[in-house]
């Protein structure tokens, strides 16, 4: 992993939004490939968020809640606000106006004006809502992602604390692209976790991570593309001792055994 790993304040600085420029880029690049730092960032986000509690609490005016509940009821029961405005703007002329023909051009002009205003407001609201829905989707995805990261992080921490766990840092083979792949492995528990990144593989190819056992054939652990942001915990047969771990370039979908060039390799420390 990069040297950014060693700065213990980076997660908090990043969560605070205080990092910028190269520091920010370096940190983001590191976190993408480091399970432990991703977990630390999750904790930092919580810590930093709660700093807002240091602001003096203040009760908003009662009308804010009233307005909010009105908006909620309107949206829940009567369709979206802009639809109601459009409906109002587009309603037919009241019979009471019949016979007031001289008013028609003025009313028509006024109606067009208000319809245009209502329409514009509707478009604005619709855009906002659309954008909000986009953000909601991102948030849901982020929640799911954070849950997975947190779960993997917990499992990783457990794995780190177990006797017999070995760390393996894979190194690029000569002439192969630079990348970072780390593996934590415990043969007695039959568990492996890994994270890392590599540049994009050649067209129609993927990378494949292998466990090279002391005895027997290599075991496929994971098929991945270059940008590999999501850590994963994998189970392997209990007691399977690893001689080394390796990454090869294979056809899309992976192969049952290594066939392509080896790009990275590493053995336990």
């Amino acid at each position: 992993m990069s040297e950014r790993h060693v700065n213990p304040e980076d997660p908090d600085l990043y969560a605070l939004g205080a990092l910028d420029g190269e520091e920010k880029q370096a940190y983001e690049a590191h976190v993408r490939g480091c399970v432990l730092c991703a977990a630390e960032l999750a904790a930092a986000r919580e810590r930093v968020a709660l700093l807002g509690l240091a602001a003096d609490p203040e009760a908003p005016g009662p009308k804010v809640k009233e307005r909010l509940m009105r908006r909620v009821r309107r949206e829940a029961g009567g369709g979206a606000p802009w639809e109601q405005r459009d409906a109002r703007a587009g309603r037919k002329e009241s019979p009471i106006l019949a016979g007031w023909g001289w008013l028609t051009p003025a009313l028509a002009l006024t109606t067009v004006f208000f319809a245009a205003v209502a329409g514009w407001m509707g478009v604005q609201d619709a855009r906002d809502l659309q954008r909000l829905h986009g953000v909601e989707g991102q948030l849901a995805q982020a929640q799911q992602h954070s849950f997975e990261i947190a779960r993997t992080a917990t499992e990783t921490e457990n794995l780190l604390g177990m006797p017999g766990t070995v760390r393996v840092g894979l190194k690029p083979m000569p002439g192969m692209p630079d990348g970072r792949v780390g593996v934590l492995y415990n043969a007695k528990m039959g568990m492996v976790t890994c994270a890392g990144w590599l540049p994009a593989p050649p067209a129609q190819k993927n990378y494949q991570l292998w466990l090279m056992p002391m005895k027997g054939k290599p075991m496929s652990l994971r098929v991945f593309k270059g940008e590999w942001n999501e850590p994963m915990m994998m189970k392997v047969p209990v007691g399977m001792e690893a001689k080394a771990f390796a990454v090869t370039v294979e056809p899309m979908g992976g192969m049952p055994w290594p066939t392509g060039p080896m790009v990275m390799q590493g053995a336990g420390e």
């Binding site: 968020a49 509690l53 005016g61």
Partner: protein, 195 residues
């Protein structure tokens, strides 16, 4: 707020909201509007703007209730992040709409809440400790941290605003965060000791 709602955990209220129960939203509003409005006022320094953002925030909570899983992150932190992002976004753009389309800000990857901050007493206690911890920071450190948190400034922007060298600003922000982190760590350790 009705008595059952007063005691209900956030997760239960979110579930009720999903089923269309408006009173659950009202309960969450009663629970969190004070701290959120305080934060919004501190950032925006404008009651009208703060009220508008607060209302938008709870509207979003109402609309996204079905997608929110309180088990995957704390409601307190989520709301604080959303409030801060929206307020800072509004502050910086000065526009009518406070919706932050900064995806980074919304990608809250929150760890599970270590404390039961749904309880107002616990929240007050933590808030009191935080204020004390911030008050105990040296003036320059506190200023740097407040500019970052409440005005959304990066270290470079803080250096420009205060006229201090960038390296000095970095040291100040880092030292301030370290002190506060220590405070949090001690708090977590105390809680672990109790449980």
């Amino acid at each position: 707020m009705t008595a059952p709602h007063q005691q209900a955990p956030d997760a239960a209220l979110v579930e009720q909201m999903t089923a269309g129960d408006e009173s659950a939203l009202a309960a969450l509003y009663d629970r969190y509007s004070g701290v959120l409005y305080g934060l919004l006022l501190r950032i925006l320094k404008d009651t009208h703007a703060a009220e508008e953002v607060l209302q938008d925030l709870f509207m979003q909570l109402w609309r996204t209730a079905s997608r929110f899983d309180a088990n995957r992150g704390s409601m307190t932190a989520w709301l604080m992040v959303m409030a801060r992002n929206r307020a800072i976004s509004r502050l910086r753009r000065g526009g009518r709409h406070a919706v932050a389309d900064d995806p980074e800000g919304f990608l809250l990857e929150s760890a599970p809440d270590p404390a039961n901050l749904e309880d107002e007493a616990a929240r007050r206690q933590l808030a009191g400790r935080l204020r004390a911890a911030m008050a105990s920071l040296p003036g320059e450190q506190r200023e740097a941290l407040e500019l970052a948190y409440f005005e959304g400034m990066t270290q470079t922007e803080i250096a420009e605003r205060t006229g201090a060298p960038l390296g000095t600003v970095k040291s100040r922000v880092r030292a301030a965060l370290q002190s506060l982190k220590q405070h949090f760590d001690e708090r977590t350790a105390r809680q672990s000791g109790r449980s």
